[in-house]
């Protein structure tokens, strides 16, 4: 008989998510993903100075504010009709790339790793590496003091959990190292961003910070240290786990999902805002062929609200003409997240989508070697590989900056304008849309990565990507659904992000030009 279990709160993610699954014969039979927080930042932006959007939309997510700032800036650049100097394009890339690296490290080590490690195995470490002995001493002292929070309580380790004391102790050491390296990524970002989280320097037409030789050196010295860690520690560890102890999870296709992907692309190489010329490429992939990439056509994006707590007029709407009237007591609805679909299909967004869209030969070789299908493990592998790819990109870009040259083309707020900024947050495809009238924001809308991933069912009853990925997940013990959280976390959900709304209490239809 089927048994329903609820994981609420889903911890170690950004924001508030509840997951409900139905289990039959030890596997997930059905799943529902529920966003349980609504803030309405876009409502708050209405009628304000358009320039505020870059500051306010960063507050959508404290983990990926840099990417929101980039989407918002490109959205304002296009609405204000301003070109960005090359220095500013590069500095914006560097700021967002630094945050990609921080997000990857934070997600793997500090949010996801505890799902795979039986951390108490550290107590059995029998080697004599001084750095690992220090880790052992720390954990043992917590156990002796009878206070191992926040490492316990937890879901109990299962057959897939790593319990080799050498591997686990090394992983805990890396966890602590990664805290320091992650901090360094934020320092690096602040060199051009002013501060982090929520940086201060992106404005329409460029960036307020200057370029000088000292800044380049300060950035580069940190980048070298970070690249070293990513290349020698993070990537080898993830690949070792993915091809070794965690391979059985991949072989079982735990976390598979639809196999449809969407990527807007990231890191402009030519003109700022041109999503056809980016370091991480844009594109759309449709199951079952993960090597065929179609060009992105933003007009094929629709948002459906049949199962979301918003008033539904039936069918889907393009986000640029989105309508959102909160209706938190709507019958049958179960989430504050909408259901975006591209060409009528749910699509997974994130590092795996980007790397498949980019089809970098080295990455595709890894994919082929572990088995060419999506899974929770594949998502971690994509994130790690991309992290190094992005570090290498930064190594080139930092040297392209020209000290003393312009970083901003100043521009006044226009009376009217419309704009669109399509970029990638670390978690996936991120779009900002603006409509300006009378020099104020008439409508501002964000379609964020986790809206793609954590979306509920649509009007054709198609599950969202996380819901679909949960199907067939083994849950031998319903009181210990550790595989469920492994699958959900592999998407790196960011729920504060996913829950957004525009245009309350009116049915205004707004026009956006999608070029």
């Amino acid at each position: 008989m089927a048994q329903k279990i609820v994981v609420d709160p889903m911890t170690r993610i950004e924001g508030h998510l509840a997951i409900e699954v139905e289990i039959e014969n030890g596997v997930v039979k059905n799943a529902w993903s529920k966003g349980t927080l609504f803030r309405g930042l876009e409502i708050i932006l209405k009628d304000r100075d358009p320039r505020d959007a870059t500051i306010v939309t960063q507050r959508i997510c404290g983990v990926c504010p840099a990417e929101h700032a980039l989407a918002s800036s490109q959205c304002l650049d296009s609405a204000f009709g301003v070109e960005v100097p090359d220095n500013a394009r590069i500095m914006r890339n560097l700021v967002a790339a630094a945050n990609f690296v921080q997000s990857a490290l934070l997600h793997f080590y500090h949010l996801a790793a505890l799902d795979y490690l039986d951390i108490m195995a550290v107590a059995d470490y029998a080697g004599n590496d001084p750095k690992l002995l220090a880790v052992k001493e720390k954990i043992v002292s917590l156990v002796k003091a009878g206070d191992t929070a926040p490492l316990t309580p937890r879901y109990e380790p299962d057959a897939f959990s790593l319990n080799d004391p050498n591997i686990v102790t090394e992983a805990v050491w890396q966890y602590l190292q990664a805290l320091e390296i992650r901090k360094r990524t934020q320092e690096m970002l602040a060199i051009f961003g002013g501060k982090m989280p929520h940086h201060a320097t992106f404005v329409p037409g460029g960036i307020t910070e200057k370029v000088d030789a000292q800044k380049i050196a300060d950035f580069k010295s940190r980048l070298d240290e970070i690249t070293d860690f990513v290349e020698k520690v993070y990537v080898p560890t993830v690949l070792m786990l993915g091809t070794g102890p965690l391979k059985p999870l991949h072989d079982l296709k735990v976390g598979h999902g639809h196999g449809n992907f969407i990527a807007y692309g990231m890191f402009d190489l030519g003109k700022s805002g041109d999503y056809t010329n980016r370091y991480c490429k844009s594109g759309v992939i449709t199951a079952p062929n993960i090597t065929t990439v179609e060009p992105l056509d933003p007009s094929k994006i629709m948002e459906v609200v049949k199962y979301s707590w918003y008033t539904d007029e039936g069918g889907g709407r393009h986000p640029s003409d989105g309508m959102t009237v909160p209706e938190p007591k709507k019958e049958g609805a179960y989430s504050f997240v909408k259901a975006p679909r591209y060409d009528g299909k749910p699509r997974e967004a994130g590092a795996l989508a980007r790397m498949l869209a980019t089809q970098a030969p080295e990455f595709m070789k890894i994919v082929t070697s572990i088995g060419a299908w999506p899974s929770a493990v594949a998502r971690h592998a994509a994130r790690a590989w991309e992290c190094l790819y992005v570090c290498k990109g930064m190594q080139e870009w930092i040297l392209q900056l020209k000290p003393g040259e312009a970083t901003c083309n100043y521009v006044e707020v226009p009376e009217t304008g419309e704009g669109m900024g399509l970029v990638e947050a670390h978690r996936g495809a991120l779009g900002h849309f603006i409509n300006i009238e009378g020099g104020k924001i008439k409508n501002y809308q964000c379609v964020v990565p986790t809206t793609w991933n954590a979306s509920p069912r649509d009007d054709k009853e198609q599950r969202g990507p996380i819901e679909e990925a949960l199907l067939r997940t083994p849950v031998p013990d319903p009181s210990n659904p550790i595989n469920v959280v492994r699958v959900v976390r592999s998407f790196d959900p960011c729920l504060a992000c996913a829950v957004h709304v525009i245009e309350p209490k009116t049915n205004k239809i707004l026009e956006f030009r999608i070029s």
Partner: protein
């Protein structure tokens, strides 16, 4: 006390020095800190329950940028972090059980930390955790806490989600539970402000607070008073556009919307991210994120507040006119801002006081 929790005496004293710095105390306090800290470190670590409301997790991310002590030291050596959704191993019913068990077990002893605002519209339906309105969970947790600390603009006063028309009726901690709340504002707060305040609370109780519930040690001075662009302001030298040489020449950012005259924090001295930079140094106007007026009443962020004094004549005129003009303007500025901070009533509505 040769070895407390793996710390050598030398490391321990270093940590006391760090704590003194964190809590904004002079080194003369080190013996007192040592004795308090010894109690903390050798006994049971003080329990902390960290709740996440309507926020963005930026405060937690900022906390992770702490240098002295590092976030690992804070979590493993200094406090017993009983509940924190972003960091804890547990999920679902296991984490829920931990929350309610620990609220009972450590009744009257734990420090409650809130990150994020509390949506109160429609009985709190806009944020549910474990199937319950978040506002109820906060009220329950605050009923049995020893101290209440709000971190970040949202938890202090509602912050960005409380901007007009405040769709979810988001509120700060004090407005919901009443009583004494230590407010550590900022969007996000500097890690030192959070760690320093929490350490201070657990060693010595509530620190000296200002009229907005903020620890005076971190929020006792106007940003404007310590601003590296202050000299330019006194000389009437203002940045008029981004991308101009004046930004680099350290001209004042008041005309570009800087809220530093109306905002208190030690940002100019402490700086951000291990001291590499901060907003004003990077040519960006202060958004006023440590003030209760952030975000709504400081919007539009890139326009000057009417209360900000811009009458300074350029230096080549100003200084030759007479020192008296400058003095008078400065006095007017001081008076104007003081009046402003006492809560000059403003028209409700978007777009600040314009």
């Amino acid at each position: 006390m040769a070895n407390i929790k793996g710390l050598s005496r030398r490391q321990f004293l270093k940590m006391c020095g760090v704590v003194a710095t964190m809590a904004g105390l002079s080194e003369a306090f080190i013996p007192q800190i040592a004795s308090a800290l010894e109690g903390v470190i050798s006994g049971a670590k003080p329990p902390v329950i960290w709740l996440n409301g309507a926020g963005c997790t930026g405060c937690t991310v900022s906390l992770a940028n702490s240098n002295y002590p590092t976030v690992a030291e804070v979590i493993l050596d200094v406090i017993s972090l009983r509940y924190a959704e972003t960091l804890m191993a547990a999920s679902g019913h296991v984490s829920e059980k931990a929350l309610y068990d620990d609220m009972e077990k450590f009744k009257g002893k734990y420090i409650l930390v809130l990150e994020g605002a509390i949506p109160t519209a429609e009985d709190g339906i806009y944020l549910q955790v474990g199937g319950r309105p978040f506002v109820e969970i906060v009220e329950e947790a605050a009923a049995n806490s020893a101290y209440n600390v709000a971190v970040g603009a949202c938890a202090c006063w509602g912050g960005p989600p409380a901007g007009d028309p405040n769709p979810t009726e988001a509120k700060g901690l004090q407005a919901v539970i009443g009583g004494t709340v230590v407010n550590v504002p900022g969007c996000p707060p500097h890690p030192d402000w959070m760690v320093g305040t929490i350490v201070n609370v657990l060693l010595f109780g509530v620190p000296e607070l200002d009229e907005f519930g903020r620890p005076k040690v971190f929020f006792g001075q106007k940003i404007h008073d310590n601003c590296p662009r202050r000299t330019a302001y006194e000389s009437g030298l203002f940045v008029e556009k981004w991308g101009s040489p004046e930004v680099e020449m350290n001209y004042c950012l008041a005309k570009m919307g800087c809220k530093g005259q109306a905002t208190s924090s030690d940002c100019p001295n402490r700086q951000w991210n291990s001291g590499v930079n901060w907003c004003i140094k990077a040519g960006a106007p202060c958004a006023g994120c440590t003030d209760p007026k952030f975000y709504n009443d400081f919007s539009p962020l890139y326009e000057p507040l009417p209360t900000i004094i811009l009458e300074k004549e350029p230096a080549d005129k100003g200084f030759t006119t007479s020192g008296v003009t400058i003095m008078a303007a400065a006095a007017a500025a001081a008076g104007g801002i003081a009046g402003y901070l006492k809560g000059t009533k403003k028209e409700k509505g978007k777009g600040g006081e314009k």
